[in-house]
Amino acid sequence: MNLDLNTEQKLLKNSARSFLKQECPSALVRKVRNSDEAFPETLWKNMADMGWMGLGIDEEYGGIGGSASDVAVLMEAMGEASLPAPFFTTVVVSGTAIQQSSNEEMKAKLLPLLVTGKLVSSFALIEPNNDYGLTHIRTAATADGSDWIISGTKLFVEYAKGARYFLTVANVEGTGLIVAMIDAATDGIKLKSMPTLDYSKQCEVVFNAVKVPAENILALGDDAESMLNHLEDICAVAKCSEMMGAIQSVLDVSVEYVKDRTQFGQPVGGFQAVQHHCANMAVNVDSARYLTGLAAWKLSEGLPATKEASMAKSFVSKAAVRVSKLGHQVHGAISFCDEHDMHLYLRRTQSASMAFGNTEYHLEKVAQKIGL
């Protein structure tokens, strides 16, 4: 048993942190937020040059391999930096989906582009009738010769404006779900901004009788179901890692601040109430770290991971927001200013806590897995 990172992961973590500190300071996060661009192209290119887009992608497609635990390390560093770029939807979600697919054509076509950063992909799942999960998908896919016609509205599609593909889930009446890579350049696609508190440039995406060639289908029926179930674990753990990065920063920044800030003639970190807030943050951060690590490890080992992924998502979603709020509380008014970074963590953790199933959603999954 080793509850630390292994040597390669430590290296990866350090290099990711120093890269992002340099290339993705919080000033950039604010700049992107205030601009119309979907994400900073230069940063994206530099990330690709670091080889990150190949993490978790098989070597035969130009990737560098690596496990879910390695991806977790990177996601954590990105959470720490509030990365304003579509790594998660492109590499983690779409990369995993394409690799899992039996559609060799898509793999050969898209993965080499993806690993070099030339392909940005977004994930179009949620619909006006639902808030998460695979039920109530009304976006319809109907066969049209060997093609498919897809119509429906998708919400909360992150970084849709910069995407070249939409990894899309639709429903084939009577058959079940279908997972398609829809080329963003196809006729009949309309985007509308849905600004959210985490600055992640989410969009409403309307597919109006969009023609999708058969070769763009990643999975259908049972395959689609099992792909999406696996993605659910992957997404949950990745979001936990992202939150981990954010709250580790919250803790570090807070501890530093309360050591320094003086009130009533002593560092505020000397007050027992502040100390206990910080201790609670630390216990939450540690607990979140090990739970996330356990789930990522199970995924890495190819073991059934749903219980652990859902335990992590249910716990970290709550813990991360709790820690973020405590971070604000020990900072006081200064953390309520835009110029301070504390709220960036709060925003990121809050949105991540709701993404891909909130606490109750995942508690219900845990309940099922423990035999209830």
């Binding site: 009738n129 959210t196 508190l197 309520f336 835009d338 109750e360």
Partner: protein, 403 residues
């Protein structure tokens, strides 16, 4: 215990309610953009609403209701504190315009001037506050004096008939939109920490007073940094006993904690959430049919009821001539945590939809929840952190030792 208003109070409650329904434009409550117990003060998305806002304040001032608990001679109605509380509750329930930072003038500075001001000061400021003509900002916090207000360093040194101010205030909410500051300054720099401070009124237009905007978490300009450099104010603007500012401050803080609550806003916001869950489906089910949604909202309803009673209690105590020092602290702890809890519960219920920041067809409740989530972060910090409030309750309320 008796939870009934007196006939007079009930009559005022009803008159005010009728007035608000009659005088506010239909659907007005959907215009202000605010979460209960906010310190962020950016009330409207549509700038045109400011016209309604200003004309409504005039109407309220005409009724003499801006300052109803003040003596009639000062432009008030001579009503009791319970009626003042009823006024605050009704106004906040209907989200009626209360004047840009008007509450600081009518809720804090006015009552303080009536208690500790000179006749001249009362004559100068009180009628104008009552008519809604002038507004105030609170000059308490400084970079090194947040929770520890005893550490204020801004000095006000006598020089002839003037006081010369030097120093810096921060987190000065809406200072840039106000006319005067109600400021605590150090008048005896050699005295020990909690001695040597005094209250002064500072005209924003005083030469040597400069402001820098600070953008808050919501992206709004509500805070300011205010720099005083050899700013001269008349000695007559010193309010209360010189060097006894700290004793006055305790009372001023009580007024602040009570004034800021806006208790009716909780009820109104809650009603909007209830409406929403009763009319919106998710995953094939009305949100209101989900047991955990029902429990959580019932719990919020209960806590709102508690907030109301803690609020009425402070009014009742003031009417008995008691200082609700500990009670206003309990009120603040309870209602600010409620502001956060309600935002968090709403977020949980709305799922990803809660995070939307701008009104669109997909935003529940005019995208107020994401705003409330961020806004309420300040609730347990501003006007005395929850930690300071708990210290007060423990030390002044329960008599535990200050160590």
């Amino acid at each position: 215990m008796d939870f009934k208003f007196t006939d007079k109070e009930q009559a005022f409650h009803d008159e005010l309610t009728d007035f608000l329904i009659a005088e506010l434009p239909a659907g007005w409550a959907d215009h202000p953009v605010q979460w209960p117990h906010d310190y962020a003060h950016s009330p409207y998305r549509d700038p045109k609403d400011m016209e309604v806002h200003e004309s409504f304040i005039k109407k309220i001032a005409e009724k003499g209701w801006l300052t109803i608990s003040w003596p009639k001679e000062y432009g008030g109605q001579g009503f009791n504190n319970m009626q003042q509380a009823i006024f605050d509750e009704r106004m906040s329930y209907y989200r009626a315009p209360a004047g840009s930072s008007g509450s600081v003038g009518a809720g804090i500075v006015g009552p303080m001037l009536l208690r500790i001001g000179t006749k001249e000061q009362q004559a100068e400021f009180i009628p104008r506050i009552a008519r809604g003509e002038i507004t105030f900002w609170l000059g308490y916090s400084e970079p090194n004096a947040g929770s520890d207000l005893g550490a204020v360093r801004t000095t006000a040194i006598e020089d002839g008939d003037d006081l010369v101010l030097n120093g810096q205030k921060c987190w000065s909410s809406l200072a840039h939109k106000a006319d005067y500051s109600w400021m605590i300054v150090r008048t005896d720099p050699d005295a020990r920490k909690h001695q040597g401070c005094s209250f002064v009124i500072v005209d924003n237009k005083t030469p040597g007073v400069e402001m820098q905007p600070v953008i808050n978490i919501l992206g709004d300009h509500s805070f300011n940094e205010v720099f005083m450099t050899d700013a001269r104010i008349p000695k007559n603007n010193l309010v209360g006993e010189k060097n006894k500012g700290f004793y006055h401050l305790m009372q001023a803080l009580d007024f602040e904690r009570i004034t800021l609550v806006g208790i009716g806003g909780f009820k109104r916001m809650f009603e909007e959430i209830i409406d929403y869950v009763k009319t919106n489906k998710r995953n094939g089910k009305l949100l209101s049919e989900i047991p955990s949604v029902r429990y959580k909202l019932a719990e919020i309803a209960t806590n709102i009821e508690i907030g109301y009673m803690l609020f009425w209690r402070t009014a009742e105590m003031l009417d008995r001539g008691e200082d609700p020092n500990v009670e206003s602290s309990s009120l603040k702890v309870a209602t600010t945590e409620l502001a956060r809890d309600m935002a968090e519960v709403a977020m949980e219920i709305l799922g990803p939809y809660g995070q939307l920041t701008e009104s669109s067809e997909w935003s529940p409740i005019r995208a107020l929840v994401s705003r409330g989530f961020l806004e309420s972060i300040s609730a347990t910090i501003g006007a005395g952190t929850s930690e300071i409030m708990r210290n007060i309750i423990a030390q002044r309320g329960l008599g535990l030792p200050r160590v």
